[in-house]
Structure formats: structure tokens, C-alpha cells
């Protein structure tokens, strides 16, 4: 089944993706023949029970992991068998990541964390650019703080600023609200919504129906296969579907 969510050109296209871990009796088919397009300028949530292959799918889509078979396209580029060097270049300019555990560099200030991807790419970001990136996530006055001096919600917003500073085609988010209290989670989701409304593409893996409800559409996985997709569903409807799948 090819799940095409809209007719606009896809930011990420995945064709017949397979990924198996282990061998023999320990074999786990994490992703088992997935065909999916993530549309440009849209926010897609990926939900499913634990072990349904959500994270593996995200990692393969982002070029962090290789599929055993199948093809992955980022826009027009086939990244299926890109070299380490090519993938590094992708991460610098076309892909951004946000994770549950923030993953900021503890020794660097918020400003330095945000400018890190640009510096790694050999660019010298102006102070104003970095400030602008931080104020777009509402942390203009926290630039000189180190991650441990910030709350979880603030750290996640720094991480989002860092992911967006390169102007990536796709922002991948793996449980971005998983480690946050409800208030912080709200503000992070508001922030993500605002970036999508401004044209950003987001692919987000989540357990949280409330988070998925903020996305434009939600894809459900079970046992490594796409089993459903819902657009514009409420948190309650998403939760009910998830419970059904987990049964």
C-alpha cells in the first residue's frame, strides 16, 4: 500500500523499505515493506505501539540508519546509499533533528549550540543571526546560559533553534515532548506548529496523542507496517486508535 498523504511534491519518499535486526529466532522485522511519502510543508506524526518500528523508520528517513532494501528520497535526491560524507553534508544543510533528550552539547552556551551546525559547515554565523534564531524560539535572553542552567522546555527550544538554524528541508523530531511537563510540552508544540505554518516540513515520532493531534496528519505503524493514516483527528480519536492497535 502506498500511502500518499497529499498530492504536493513529497519532502521525503520511502519505497518498499525493509529493515531487520538480529538473526534466526532473535530476528525482528523492525520495518517490513513500508511505502510512504511525507508531504512538503506539512507536519506528519508517526504513532504506533512500542516496537512498531516508528523510530527505525525515522532513522532510515533521516539517513541515520541504512535500510536492508528499498529506496529513500529526500526531495529529488536518492539518499539510499549515500556515503558518510554525503550524509554529513545532508545533516549540515537539509536535515534537522530534535530528540526527547535534547542532546545539547553541555559545554557550550545556548548561542554556541545554535551556531554549532553552521560552524561545522564552515560558515561564520553573525551574532544577529544566532540571536534571531534564539528569539524565534522565545529565548533571546538565554543565549549565554549553558544547557544545565535551562529548564527542560527551554533546552528543547534551544534544540529546535539549533535544528532550524540551517534552514533544513525536513525537521525530524523523535518524541520531542517525551521528557517535558505539560506546560513546556505545549509551548514546544506551539513553536513547532508556528514553523510548519511558516512552511517547514516536520516528521515527528510520538506516543502522545495530544502531540500528534497538533500535526496535520498521523500515520500508524504496527509490526513494521503502515496500518492507517488519519488527518485532522482529535487527540481522543488518535488515542482510541492507538489503544486499538495496542490491543
Amino acid at each position: 500500500m502506498t500511502t500518499t498523504l497529499t498530492q504536493t511534491a513529497a519532502a521525503i519518499s520511502m519505497r518498499d523499505i525493509h529493515r531487520t535486526y538480529g538473526r534466526g529466532s532473535a530476528e525482528v522485522r523492525a520495518v517490513d515493506g513500508v511505502d510512504i511519502d511525507f508531504p512538503r510543508g506539512s507536519w506528519t506524526a508517526v504513532m504506533g505501539p512500542s516496537g512498531s518500528g516508528k523510530s527505525t523508520l525515522l532513522h532510515i528517513a533521516a539517513g541515520l540508519e541504512h535500510a536492508d532494501s528499498g529506496r529513500v528520497f529526500l526531495g529529488d535526491s536518492d539518499i539510499t546509499s549515500s556515503s558518510d560524507r554525503q550524509l554529513t553534508a545532508l545533516r549540515r544543510s537539509r536535515i534537522g533533528f530534535v530528540f526527547q533528550s535534547f542532546n545539547l552539547v553541555g559545554s557550550l552556551t545556548a548561542e554556541q549550540n545554535v551556531s554549532l551546525p553552521l560552524r561545522l559547515a564552515g560558515r561564520r554565523p553573525s551574532r544577529a543571526d544566532v540571536k534571531a534564531a534564539l528569539s524565534s524560539v522565545g529565548l533571546a535572553d538565554r543565549g549565554r546560559h549553558r544547557p544545565r542552567e535551562l529548564s527542560g522546555g527551554q533546552q528543547q527550544r534551544v534544540a529546535i533553534a539549533r535544528a532550524l538554524v540551517t534552514g533544513p528541508e525536513v525537521l525530524f523530531a523523535d518524541e520531542p515532548t517525551g521528557a517535558l511537563d505539560t506546560t513546556s510540552a505545549h509551548s514546544v508544540l506551539d513553536l513547532l506548529r508556528a514553523t510548519v505554518d511558516a512552511g517547514q516540513t516536520i516528521v515527528m515520532v510520538t506516543h502522545d496523542p495530544a502531540a500528534a493531534a497538533r500535526a496535520d496528519s498521523t500515520v500508524f505503524l504496527r509490526d513494521g507496517r503502515v496500518v492507517d493514516h488519519l488527518a485532522g483527528a482529535s487527540a481522543g480519536a488518535l488515542a482510541a486508535r492507538l489503544v486499538q492497535l495496542e490491543a
Partner: protein, 635 residues
Amino acid sequence: MFRLSWNGFRERWSLFIGAIVTVCLGVALVQSSLVLLLAAVTGDAPRGSSAIEIMTFDESTTVAITVLSMTLALSAFLAVFVISSTFAFTVAQRQRDLALLRLVGGSRSQVRRLLTGEAVLLGLTGTVIGIPLGVALTSFQERLLARLDLSPSGFDPATPVWVFGASVGVGVGLALAGVLMAARRAARVQPLAALRSTGAARRSMTAGRWFVGIVALAGAGALVLLSPKGGASGGQAMAPCASICGAIALAMLAPVLVSPIAALLLLPFRGVLGRLASANVRDSVRRNASTAAPLIVLVGLVVGQASALSSFASSAKDELRAGTSADLVLESTRPLTLDVSQVQGVRSASTEIDVPIALTLGSGEDRTTESGRLLVVDPTAYAVAHPRAGSLDKLQSQTVAAGPGALGMSPGDTVSVRIGDQRLGKLPVVAKATQTIGGGAALLAPAGLVPTSVLAEAHSRTFVSLEAGADRAKVSAALADHGSVMSIERWLDDSSSEDTKTSTNILLVILGLGAAYALIGVVNAVAIGAAARAHEFACARATGLTRAHVVRTALLESVSVTAAAVMLGLVAASTSWVAVMTTTAEVTGTGALSLPWDIIAGLVGVVVALTTVTSVITSRNATRQAPVALLAARE
């Protein structure tokens, strides 16, 4: 990149302190040994010295140069070893950070550059502290050498300014060399590793480790086989090296050896903590190997060298006892004005005058000059006093014989002999005394060869055999005016304890500081290892262990790994034991092995005590915070 290095350095200085300390001590040790070696090489005897004084000065200079070269070589070896294993461990502990860097767009070469930048910073910091420490160490080593009689009189080392520049090169170079391999491996980290909190099981055995380990093992085997074929001097040179190769081999193979042995040692501990410790030990291959490697090298090196020295010394004593036929020995610092063999009650006497010389062998490019000793002897009397030496009948005027301590000399060769500024010209070697483990004079010469002006200052030793029924006291009294008289037993004891003292002193100078340095490497590895386990400890406590349980489990692990490392170190040392036994059996007919139990017991005690204390302190530190705070906190 440099800025990131600098920030990382400032943030994680506690993790890097170990690396800085090892660089700093490595620089100090190498600088100090280098300064002393330079002073020994360039030193000259005081003006106006006599021929014998010049030769004596040269001889003790040779001893000092040998000891200091070995100290320098060992310092450099340990510095490379300890620094690279500390750096590798430091890098391994930060795998997640490095993966994170890759995740936000860092390339492999940027990861390498980051680590290289850090290494330069660490190297420079270590050097800045290491240079003044080295100056202090120089005066300490100088006093040690003087006190142990291993440096020439008037030895006064000055530190040339360029040595400081060399130290900067050494510090930065050692740090870079240490990080090179680690950085290559670290750059291969997958970005995904940043997302896995536990970290995937990392391979600890690399192809490089296997290669170096197996080559070193083969080297140890070859040395064990070749030692008995190397003769007295070759065997003595090769036997101690076997344990060095063995220690390097086992340190390289530590990841496959240490964990299984340590787990085996924990088998008797069947309680919950014992089982947990055993499981942890089997799981943490990398950490165990990092702790064990410097221990294996330390124990292998110290026990191997000390055993070889003490065994050869005891073999030499037995050999001397069996090879000397005399009742009394007369030691004299003046020329003898008495023909001892004419004294009433004396059956025979071999007077041997000891002259320090410079000996030149070979010609053209193969020419080598070394300092040694020449004994002026009466060939017939010598053969009586030393019945195992062989026949010296051919030794006549203007010829020499290769002595019991000769190196690479046989009848038919020609040697040049110089005493101070007096040259004795080219002399044919016409005979060869049997080589001995204990060594001794390089040349034997008949009377008349050495100018009387030289002999006037030389010491002499006379081995006296008494006639049956002669009055020992009476003969002693007759000789007492000409020097100090002692029984042969007393002389044997004195000379062997003198030899033992010298070899112990040499061992102390060469290995003492190096051993202290290696111990610091061990403490470092234990401390870095435990500090990184705060999260794991917190998990264990959340599961129901008390803080004391955690500390005790960590201690069990630490002691079992230490014990495994000590055992492997002793295995490495045992290659030298085999080589020593076969060599002494080949040369003297009796295999000798005398283990320095005091050194072994002392070393093992210090090692166990240090790792125990370090483990308790660091695991207590790592469990100071409430577990829930640690489990919740994620950077």
C-alpha cells in the same frame, strides 16, 4: 574547532585531569633522564687526573650512561603507553558527545580535529607543569644516582635551554601520538550512537591490538628460546627482555583475557553482590582492559627485571664459589711489595692487579671502543686460583687473553688498549677464559705489559691457597701489613652482596620512577572508570542496593580485575624466569632462579592497596548524589 576543543576542555577538565597528569609526569621523567644522560655523555674527568683516575671516571660514566639510557628508554616507553591508554579511555568515555557532534553535521575529520585539538591543549598544559617538575626531578635523580654510586664523581648536570623546547615537543608529541589511534576510532562513531543512552556494545579488540599482541608474544617466545644460545652476556641481555615483550603482548590482549579471568576469580562469591560484580566484570571489557593494561606492564616489567637480576646474581655467586680455589683473599690499594707465594705456609697465590681501560675492537666501521677492566695476572697462578677459567698457557709478553667478562672477542683477534693517555698499542688475543654469568675483567694480561707508573695506583687482589696444615692466622698476620685479609667465604659473601646492592640500585633508578608513573596510570584508569558509572550506580540503587552495596560491588570488581592483571603480569614475568633458568643452566651447568619475594610481595601489596582505595573513594564519590536525582538528570 579549536574553540570547541577549548570549551570541551574547560567543561570536562576533571575527566582530562588524568590525561594532563600523565603527560606532565611523562614530560618530567623524560626531560630529567635526558638532562642527566646529556651530562653523562658530555662529562669529562677533572683536569690533571691521572691515567687511572681518567679511566675510572670513564668507567663510571659508562655505567651512568647505560643506566640513564635505560631510564630514558623506559620513561619514554611508559609515557607513550600510559598516555595513549589514558587518552584512548578518555575518548571512549565520550562516545555519546562525539556522536552528537556527528548528528548536528560534524564530519569524521572534524571529530578527529576536535580530539587532536584537545590533545594539543592537554599536551601543552601537561608540559607547562611538567617542565618545572622535570627540573626538580633532575636534582632528585642526580642525588639518587650519587647516593647509589652510579654517577661519576663531580657529576654536575646543567639543563641546556633547548631541552625545554624539546620537552614541549615531547609533551605535545606524546599527547598527539596517544590520541591518534583513539581519534581514528572515535571518528568512526555512528551519529545514532548519540541516541542510545546505554551505548551499543563496542568492540574492544581491534585488528591493531591483535597484531601488536601476537607479534610481541612471538617476540617473547623467541627471546625465551634464544637466551640460552646467547652465552653469558647475550643471555643476560635477552632474558629480561622476554618479560617486556610478554607484558606488552598481554597488555594488548587484555580485552580478551582480563574479563574472563576476573569473572573466574569471582566464582567463589555466590551472593547477590558477587554475582552482580561478576556480571559487571564480564560486561565491562573495555574498562577492565584499561585498568589492567598498565598493571600488567608494571608487574611484568618490575617482577621480570628484578627476578632476572636477582637470579643472575645468585647464579654468579654460586659460579664464583665453585670457580674459585683459595683460602684467603688479600685486597690491597697499593702495589704489593711482597711475593705472597713466598710467605711461609702459602702453597700458591694469584695476584691480580685491576686496571680500568678503554678497549677498542675491530677495525674500520666495525670499530667499537668500550670501557672495561684489565687484570694483570700470572697465567699459571691464575689457572690454579680459577680452575674453571681454562688454560692461559699461551699468554706471554705483549699478548692478552679474553677475560671472563669479555664481549665478542676470541683468540686470533687484535685489540687496542688505552689507559688514560697511555696507549699499549695493538695486542693479539691468544687465549680465552671461560665466560661467566658474573662477568668480570674483559682482558687478562701478563706482567710487563702495563707501565709501572699505572700499576702504582692500581688496586690488587690476591687469592691465596694454604699448604695443608698451615696456620691460617699466622699467614693472615704476615699479609695484614699489605692490605686487608679475609677468608674466601667472607670475600664471596661481600662481593656478591656488593653485586646485589649495585643491581638493586640500578633497578631502583631505572624502574622506581617508572613504576610510580605506571601506578598513577592505574589510579587514573580506576578513577575515570568509576566516575563514568554514576548513572549505572544510580540504577543499581534504584533497584534496591544500598550505597554500601554499590561500593562493595565496585570494590569486588576492582579487586578481581587487579588480581587478574597481577596474574597476567606474573605470567609475563615468567617468560624471563624460564629464560633465566635455561641461560644459567647452559652457562654454569646449574639452572638458577631466585625470585625477589620482597619486591613481588611489596609490589602486589601496593597495587592492591592503591586500586582498593581508589575504587572505594571514586565509587563513594559517584554515589554521593541521591539516585533519583542522577536518574532524572540528563544533559
